[in-house]
Symmetry: C2
Subunit: 244 residues, 2 copies
């Protein structure tokens, strides 16, 4: 992991861009820390780091104020990372179906999400190796947001992740329901009740499928990007309960 | 309203039993208040005040610590209040259906809940008149818990109630869905995902029906009485946001 830039936000939160091989990422650490800070991995929305930077940095500042370090990396095929044809084609088919008002078929969802999960999860694990080797980062580790199938797979295969906030706001392949049953860590699931691009019943079914003994669903009114401030506060309290 | 007894809990919270005509009730006020305290009406579970006192007093203490007064009154036909034959018969039919593992018919639910709502709501409004005339109680007023149909009707007809925490844990007559659409105050709805005596889909449908722009559903694992401590904390934060 190579740091490529550094600055202070408001003279407090330390923001460092890094490259993990060819994968760009950002690390935010609290301004003043005496002990290594627990880490929250911010799963980036599929639009890419640059387009979602304002929302990411708002979550990073909020988390730093509560004593957490946060980090994120670019998803495969997003931002400046190389595209691959199959993913581009699946995305084009998804857009066509949605613009035509047609149901999105299982085939499109599988083609869009499953290869992304297969590629992204090992990258997040490599990022975790690098981040946990820094002396200012300690454990435990949480995962927050992003593509819910990536969060689900990570929760199953990565024992260093102790708790996760998942956002029921993206398409879920049927195969992920089997993986969801294997999740055992505490979960806090956010659902936007009127999310125009999300199947509410599928989100409720996925919540039901998770194997965790402690799982909480917070449903709020509004569309995909309309998560209210108090819902963000509740997610932060969940991490404070489980990571501190 | 006649106060019939008074004591201090832990030398702090002031607990007073009262009679509103023939209706028994309890008022809890914070130990030290400079200004009139906002009030939360604690809708009692259908089992009656005496059987649910430990849970009620826990909620009262928690609320007093946050600066709220709380009060509750006995439901019609519960505790020492006179039974009426139609309600007793509906309750017997409900128990018979549940013990036989049969679905509970709309007729049983209507016979059980609708007369209870019709009788209870004016009593709660009379209690509100009396409580708000006390100099140690101010506004605004919240309603919390109890029979969700009573909370729904109160939210529609009683403009002095500014926000409500509702517990999706009792049978809901179909007619209440129409009333739910008329609710406009902020709502915080608790759902126990594995509640053995509750129809989860009906609870989700009712949440969907509420007309409020701000409504939040918090679903947690466990049965009817298994609401986790952190869910109680979140409900308290909802009242602090809206009543203070």
């Amino acid at each position: 992991m190579q740091f490529t830039s550094e600055r202070r936000l408001d003279g407090a939160v330390r923001e460092r861009e890094f490259a993990l091989g060819e994968i760009p990422g950002i690390l935010w650490t609290p301004g003043s820390v005496s002990a290594p800070a627990p880490l929250i991995l911010l799963g980036p929305p599929p639009l890419g780091l640059r387009k979602t930077y304002p929302r990411l940095v708002a979550r990073a500042r909020h988390s730093a104020a509560a004593g957490f370090a946060t980090a994120t990396i670019e998803l495969p095929g997003r931002g400046d990372r190389p595209r691959w044809p199959a993913a581009e084609q699946a995305l084009a088919e998804l857009r066509r179906a949605m613009e035509a008002g047609e149901p999105v078929s299982d085939e499109i969802v599988d083609a869009l999400i499953l290869p992304l999960v297969d590629r992204a999860v090992p990258e997040w694990q490599a990022a975790l190796d690098a981040l946990l080797s820094l002396r200012e980062i300690g454990g435990p580790v949480g995962y927050s947001g992003g593509v819910i199938s990536i969060g689900t797979r990570l929760a199953v295969v990565e024992p260093r992740i102790s708790a996760a906030v998942l956002f029921a706001g993206s398409f879920v392949p049927r195969a992920m329901f089997q993986e969801a049953r294997q999740v055992t860590i505490p979960l806090h699931v956010l659902l936007q009740w009127d999310d125009e691009g999300n199947d509410r019943q599928a989100a409720l079914d996925l919540f039901d499928a998770f194997g965790s003994k402690e799982k909480t669903l917070h449903a709020n009114m509004g569309g995909h990007t309309g998560v209210p401030q108090f819902a963000g506060d509740a997610a932060a309290q969940f991490f404070t309960r489980h990571l501190k």
